[in-house]
Amino acid sequence: MSSQTPRPTNLAKDGDDKLIISWSDGLRTTHTWQNLRNNCPCASCREERLKPPDPFRILKPSELVPLNPVQIEPVGYYAYKITWSDGHDTGIFTLELLRELAEK
């Protein structure tokens, strides 16, 4: 059952903007940090993404500075939690989601 899901064997940084994950089935996936943040699975980010775009939205100060990950840590056997430079840390990226979010 759970053993059928490929598991990360190694995580590495590629420059400042990318994460590379090597998987147990031999696949290597590349993820830009920006894409991960854009697809943050936490409840508030998901709700935000479901709203129609607001053309008059005013940018928050935190959106004007480049966003960086400050920590990525395993959650149990099934996910990673990323803490971002703006303090956001509620997104739990499951292994399945990370496979889905791999840059094509």
Binding site: S2, T9, I72, E73, P74, V75, G76, Y78, K81, L95
Partner: protein, 273 residues
Amino acid sequence: MQPHQPAAQKIALPGVKNVVAVASGKGGVGKSTVATNLALALHMLGRRVGLLDADIYGPSIPIMMNIKETWEPNGREWPLEQYGLKLMSMGFWVKPEVAMIWRGPMVAKYLTVFLTQIPWGELDYLVIDLPPGTGDAQLTLTQTAPLSGAVIVTTPQDVSLIDARKGLEMFRQVKVPVLGIVENMSYFATPDGKRHYLFGHAGGQKLAENASVPFLGEIPIDPKVAECGDRGDPIVHKYPDSEVAKAYLKLATTVATEVAKGARPEDLPGLAL
């Protein structure tokens, strides 16, 4: 002893070889009874065993293990010991008449305290008696405790099986191996040896087959089980030759075999940024 913020990272329990969670989707299926008797049966097989009561809202281990006193967290050495098991429960800190009216983060804090600040020492098995459901306590433990696997308890009725399936699905999603399903209150054996399947037959087995997980066995109904639990002397300890105790010893052997198969996944690799 002060609760800290729950650690997001997996907790290391260096002296504990195997952490086994006893779970169910539904309440009232005898999870605490199974956890307690399984822990005692493992102890009877010669293993060093701890029992952690993760039901913060409704701890049952104190009454089942005949510990009536409560202490301040700093009031004595932990864990307690009874019938050869090391024990920890919220019920050792809070009087039975006090209700714990807490939201999830407090539950997570105290479970983390139980795992990290209690000197469990050298154990072959730490059995965790989970509360029913698929909520905060389960998530905290699956996110932080180095679980070897989970035993799912069900009774034969559909109303229990449907929730056991949810429990199974939760462990599947968080990639904790399911060691198997045990069916509690399976049948009543009359003195002539005839088995009466009062709540239906083989529901647990069918669920295990459908989910492709081992079926760990049937535990019969015996009024002595409830009586022993309420009197604080579990049936495996008080009547080790009873049919129920034999069923638990068989369960303990099967669980030990499943754990020894080494299903526990490797910890995920980290990355320093």
